[in-house]
């Protein structure tokens, strides 16, 4: 019992962030350069557009050990490819429903709009999800623990 409490206290949620290379990735770079502090358990995956984020990626990340995933897309009406962020948002909504059906909290998938110069927003969003995941506890859907 004591061991379990200790494990919960040291629980550090692992996050995979899928970043659009035109906004989210640049915002993350900016946060790193500005030495803003954010949880070190975040892994960034750079993609050409948030529209490239496949439901498969989100599920695979959760399956492979992530406690939460996030998608960082361009601001509304400002996607380099015009509709990529809209498509991504719809796909994420669908993925959340799938997760709910199989008994995984849909809040583990976060989505946000940001611009390349918004390092602070990147940090805010990551911390927000990190806090939420700390409350939710480890992802029950991990296949590889």
């Amino acid at each position: 019992m004591a061991g379990q409490v200790a494990r919960l206290e040291t629980f550090q949620p692992e996050i995979v962030a899928f970043c659009c290379e035109n906004s989210g990735y640049l915002a993350a770079q900016m946060a790193i350069e500005a030495k803003l502090s954010y949880p070190q358990t975040v892994t960034l995956v750079k993609l050409p557009c948030s529209g490239r984020v496949d439901a498969l990626f989100l599920l695979k990340a959760l399956e492979n050990g992530a406690d939460g995933v996030m998608v960082l897309a361009c601001q509304k009406e400002n996607c380099k490819f015009l509709k990529g962020n809209v498509r991504a948002e719809q796909r994420i909504e669908a993925t959340r429903k799938t997760l709910q059906r199989i008994g995984i909290q849909p809040e583990r998938v976060a989505f946000c709009h940001l611009a390349a110069n918004m390092g602070h927003k990147f940090v805010e969003e990551v911390r927000g999800l990190y806090g939420k995941l700390t409350e939710l506890g480890p992802n029950p859907g991990k296949v590889r623990k």
Binding site: E14, V16, N22, A28, I32, Q40, T41, V42, T43, L44, V45, K46, L47, P48, C49, G51, R52, V53, D54, A55, L56, F57, K60, A61, N64, G65, A66, C74, E77, N78, C79, K80, F81, L82, K83, G84, R87, R91, A115, R144, K145
Partner: protein, 448 residues
């Protein structure tokens, strides 16, 4: 996962290694440009494209070329006659064997993709099909005079900016008359009215010694030499008044009275001030040309929120549309000065020349690729592509599936966003450098 973070915080996909093995694709294209709109922007673009060796079809829906340019002196320096400038350009058009000019002609259909569009034109004599490689939209804008929005009636001393410009070009005398300009109440999104007003005000002051007062909400003078124009106007003694919402305009005995509260000196010297003049000049409303909706439907591009063409997007220049090979010259949020139109025409012509460098050339096939064996021609990608870059090809021998068909991302039209890849329900599409297997491999490497 933490191993990754210690190095760079980034899980990188190994792009370079996959790019090396990409096949090159042979393209054959038509080096002809369709320019829609025979105004100054269209004429400049036609000349610029011809200079780069393209054949040009310039279409204009009215009887003659020229558009609104002859009416808008702001486009050139005040006092210079835009009609003379147009005449010299028409001369160049006629002499150029590469340019075909069709008046009273409209575009009714456009099929195909960049490099190989087929345009259907309706001319006075009937329908005609033209093969073109690229399309340039240079339809410009339309102005509507609407004094009601300013609480004014249609009176002879209430003038629109372009009407005043026209009268000045024709040589009407305004000696000893005082003018009031009111700017920015309804047309603040556009730069053109500000420049036009400044140039007209300077002209009136210098030629007729008129007293000129300009009321403005914000003075928009972004652009080469335009700040200097504002400085020049101030030095000449033109009065500028910043206004807030509560501006009262009254017409009485052929005179215009403007009552206003100055937001700057209001604190120290409160109360209303009045300016009396002989004429009041307001900018016309700027609206899209009438047939813009039909044109957009034919071209399959998208309009912005105010029904104007061109992208209002930090990632995409205003000369670009949602589709490759369709460009906009002189988007109307811009200054619309002659210098700006020339610059745009040059940029677009250069862009087309880069896109279609020769009749036949090869390009790197780094666009998403379709595995025909998995493609069931469900059209999901075709519908969701934001750039309409996908074509369905039929070739029973080449495509080894039930339908003898498959979707194909055209390498010239595709902008490589990967939306189709993520949407494909059959996972038949893969994007070089970002293949499902590559991304999943990165995700599988997270634990450890």
């Amino acid at each position: 996962m933490s191993k990754n973070n210690k190095n760079s915080g980034v899980a990188n996909l190994h792009l370079e290694s996959s790019l090396e093995s990409l096949p090159r694709e042979e393209m054959s294209v038509t080096r002809r440009v369709l320019v829609i709109g025979g105004g100054i922007a269209g004429v400049e673009t036609a000349l610029q494209c011809a200079e780069r060796g393209f054949q040009v079809t310039l279409i204009e829906r009215s009887e003659k070329l020229g558009g609104a340019f002859g009416k808008l002196a702001a486009l050139v320096e005040a006092g210079e006659n835009p009609k003379d400038y147009l005449q010299s350009k028409f001369g160049q058009l006629e002499k150029n064997p590469l340019i075909e000019v069709l008046t009273q002609t409209q575009l009714v259909d456009l099929t195909g993709l960049v490099g190989n569009f087929t345009a259907t034109l309706v001319t006075g004599t009937g329908k005609r099909k033209v093969k073109v490689g690229a399309v340039t939209i240079a339809v410009g804008l339309q102005t509507v005079f609407c004094p009601v929005k300013y609480g004014l009636a249609m009176e002879p001393n209430v003038l629109g900016l372009t009407k005043l410009t026209g009268e000045l070009i024709e040589g009407k005398s305004f000696t000893g008359k005082d003018f009031t300009f009111v700017l920015g109440k309804t047309t603040e999104n556009f730069v053109l009215p500000f420049i036009s007003a400044l140039k007209n005000a300077i002209y009136l002051k210098e030629k007729f010694g008129s007293g000129v007062s300009i009321f403005y909400t914000n003075m928009k003078v972004g652009g080469d030499g335009l700040e200097a124009l504002y400085g020049q106007a101030r030095n000449l003694g033109i009065n500028f008044f910043k206004i807030s919402e509560n501006l009262e305009l009254k017409l009485q005995n052929n005179q215009v009275t403007v009552s206003f509260q100055d937001p700057f000196i209001g604190n120290k010297l409160p109360g209303k001030y009045q300016v009396v003049s002989d004429y009041i000049v307001i900018p016309e409303e700027i609206v899209p040309v009438e047939n813009i909706a039909e044109l957009v439907e034919v071209l399959k591009v998208k309009l912005d929120a105010a029904d104007f063409l061109g992208e209002n997007n930090v990632h995409v220049g205003p000369q670009f549309t949602s589709r490759e090979g369709i460009y906009v010259v002189d988007d109307i949020y811009a200054t619309s000065c002659l210098a700006h139109i020339k610059q745009d025409a040059e940029l677009v012509a250069g862009e087309i020349a880069g896109k279609l460098p020769a009749e036949a050339f090869s390009v790197e096939g780094d666009q998403p690729q379709v595995d025909a064996a998995k493609c069931v021609v469900c059209l999901t990608c075709f519908r969701c592509c934001p750039h309409k870059a996908i074509e369905i090809l039929h070739d029973a021998e080449k495509y080894n599936n039930l339908y003898g068909s498959a979707a194909r991302m055209n390498p010239l039209a595709c902008r490589r966003c990967g939306v189709c890849v993520a949407e494909c329900p059959g996972k038949a599409i893969q994007m070089p450098g970002y293949q499902d297997a590559q991304v999943v491999a990165v995700l599988e490497g997270l634990v450890g």
